[in-house]
Amino acid sequence: MTQEPMTLPVAVTRPVKPAVKRNSPWLAVVMVLALMYFLLPLYWVLVSITKDNSQLNTTFGLWFAQPWHLWENIVQLGTQDGGIFYRWMLNSFFYSFSSGALATMSAAMAGYAFSKFNFAGRGWIFSVILGTIMVPSTALTLPIFLLINNIGLANTPWAVILPQMVNPFGLYLMRVFWDNGFPTELIEAAKIDGASDWRIFWSMGLPLVRGGLITVFLFTFVAAWNNFFLPLVVLNNNEQFPLTLGLSVWNNTNTGRTPQYTMIILGALVSILPLLTAFFTLGRYWQGGLTTGATKG
């Protein structure tokens, strides 16, 4: 085995094939058990969406019951409260996509500045920004709520998007990508050819750190998609809710009438489909993002 040179950009590392072929039966058994452990809840979800409330409560949880109520649940999901579910889904898409795109751009630009420009206080400003990763987001909710309220943005989409468009971890990640994926020599060469800073950043740099951009986008998108507390606090209109909030409202609205839980379970399943799709189609960037910090620094 030869050691790979340390300077290889992350985006082009490929997994090295193991030299020894493993076929330990025990390993296979353990892996299958682990797989079942992780897939069982999902399987339960798939079974439950074919039932109605009484079947959910009184039939075996891991097998189907007759008659099926899947279609009924699908129809109800689309019509409950005037079909608001798909409205929530659109909202989630809009908030997550906007937050993701804006966070990616801000992280790419700030990361570029930290990586390529030498300015006074670069080191400690970067440390302070990194330090903010350690502040739990719940601690920031009240100040964010006050800020949003005072500038009159409460109850608008901006209240959800603005706080999520800065992502200190994304900034850190982008700096690593700029450091390793875009050699400073290239910038010097381009400058000699008369290219502006903006053109160097936009036309030459960005395509080279595409992996980093997608990783940051994915991380922010997923975080925004799953965010519950921020929209709960800043939104006052059911029409503007994202899926997390909407489903929670349905699930917890139990007075004297029991909600149709199997329909809500179906809604939860539908709500993770976009994430699953993103994960399966862009999975390799995801992996890259998780290991980037570990090997480069």
Binding site: D52, N53, S54, Q55, L56, N57, T58, T59, G61, T141, L142, F145, L146, N149, N150, A154, F229, L232, V233, N236, N237, N238, L245, S248, V249, N251, N252, T253, N254, T255, G256, R257, T258
Partner: protein, 445 residues
């Protein structure tokens, strides 16, 4: 003869008409005058179809519009949001739904308006007495009661018939019935279920036995007594039944519990008024072979007693941030006490009213719809109406009352598994939560 029969029919007819008239006479309050000018109120509530109910108010008072926002039930939505807005000093709604048990907490934040100066002085007469004492602190009134969850006993009539056991009216009879069931069924059929993971369930049963967990003293401090003799009597009783295997300890609302009920393995369950809706909603299509569900009053410690406790129930509070507290108070009061609104609350969301007049509404016992339909047409609302009258008015909560559940679960778990006695469990529950309340800065003795 003929004339006599005709007379009888007439009299009978008159009596029926009278009864109908009586049932339909809804004692509605005389409301205060509405403020003038165009007003829009914001109302946070997790009652389904609340928009329709609030629209009825605007129909009556066209200059006051209401924007309803459903941000989810209690701790999983409305409370953290309301708490944030109160802390921030901005962003709170005019009116919000808050459960009885959380009134002291939100009152202690200073975010709730005292409604006494906005309401007519006789407002309390229109609500079930104990619900009004739940929203009062001294002379101040912090909310208008919306609904209630007094306790009664849901039971399987078919099981009692099969084993020829009379429906128990006292806890002694209940234990005897448990023994008989246990012996006759070879241990398969339990008389009931002890919900060891739900402090509010236990609280309701202790409440029915006269226990008072918290007390607000005149100097503003609180006294907590979770381990009184009355509470221990209840805990020891269920502990004994558990030891003798007369009752099970299945998780509340769990599939295991519903399964056991529909299979006829659990003969009774102590349930709040809204529990009838849960039974109907969860078991309607699979009630169990030959199952007949009925509701009877809560078994009593003293023969002939009518005591009950409560689990759940909400209020509408007005926040100090409201710019139109007069309109907000009128809205909250009207919403919870007018006939049109109470009927809509019941039809739209199964809200079991806290307004006294609401309990006599014929809609509550409509045999063609749930919950009455599930109970084979029994007037279950009438049983719960009586239960509501028997709820001790002196029971109070504290600002930290909602936080004592975790400690209860922990201590009860130890008791259920034989690691400590049920009396010790209550002592430890008291000690543990007292320490925590003091650490959180509450003035408690």
């Amino acid at each position: 003869m003929k004339l006599k029969q005709g007379m009888m029919l007439l009299i009978a007819g008159g009596a029926v008409a009278g009864a109908i008239a009586l049932a339909q006479a809804f004692n509605e309050p005389k409301y205060q005058a509405a403020p003038k000018g165009e007003i829009t109120l914001e109302y946070w509530s997790w009652v389904p179809k609340m928009e329709e109910q609030a629209a009825l108010f605007t129909k009556q008072y066209p200059n006051i519009k209401v924007k309803v926002v459903n941000v989810g039930a209690g701790q999983s939505g409305t409370y953290p949001k309301l708490q944030t807005a109160i802390k921030a000093g901005t962003g709170a709604p005019d009116v919000a739904q808050v459960e009885f048990g959380y009134i002291p907490f939100f009152a202690s934040t200073g975010g709730l308006a005292d409604l006494t100066k906005y309401l007519p002085s006789d407002a309390k007469n229109y609500f079930v007495p104990w619900t009004w004492s739940q929203v009062s602190q001294g002379k101040a009134v912090y909310g208008i009661p919306q609904d209630q969850g007094p306790f009664a006993m849901i039971y399987r009539k078919d099981i009692f018939d099969k084993y020829k056991i009379a429906v128990p009216t006292t806890w002694n009879e209940y234990e005897a019935a448990g023994k008989k069931l246990f012996e006759a069924s070879g241990g398969k059929v339990k008389i009931g279920n002890f919900f060891s993971t739900f402090a509010p369930w236990f609280t309701a049963l202790a409440w029915a036995n006269g226990a008072q967990f918290w007390k607000l003293n005149t100097d503003g401090s609180y006294t907590q007594t979770l381990n009184s003799a009355a509470a221990k009597q209840v805990a020891n009783y269920w502990g004994r039944l558990l030891e003798k295997k007369y009752v099970s300890t299945l998780g509340a609302f769990s599939a295991d519990f519903w399964n056991a009920v529909s299979k006829g393995e659990v003969a009774t369950s102590m349930e709040a008024a809204w529990g009838t809706g849960s039974f109907a909603g969860s078991l309607e299509k699979n009630p169990g072979v030959g199952a007949e569900y009925r509701v009877a009053p809560l078994p009593q410690w003293k023969k002939g007693g009518t005591a009950s406790g409560n689990w759940g129930g909400s209020t509408a509070v007005v926040t100090t941030q409201s710019k139109n507290p007069e309109a907000a108070a009128l809205f909250a009061y009207w919403l919870m006490s007018s006939k049109a609104s109470v009927v809509q609350g019941w039809k739209g969301a199964g809200v079991f009213p806290a307004a006294s007049a609401g309990l006599d509404l014929p809609e509550l016992s409509d045999k063609t719809s749930n919950p009455s339909k599930f109970f084979d047409g029994q007037n279950v609302a009438a049983v719960y109406k009586e239960a509501g009258k028997g709820v001790n008015t002196r029971f109070q909560w504290s600002p930290w009352a909602p936080t004592v559940d975790a400690s209860f679960q922990k201590q009860m778990d130890l008791a259920v598994n034989g690691k400590q006695s049920f009396a010790d469990a209550l002592d430890n529950w008291q000690a543990e939560t007292l320490t925590k309340a003091k650490a959180d800065g509450y003035n408690v003795k």
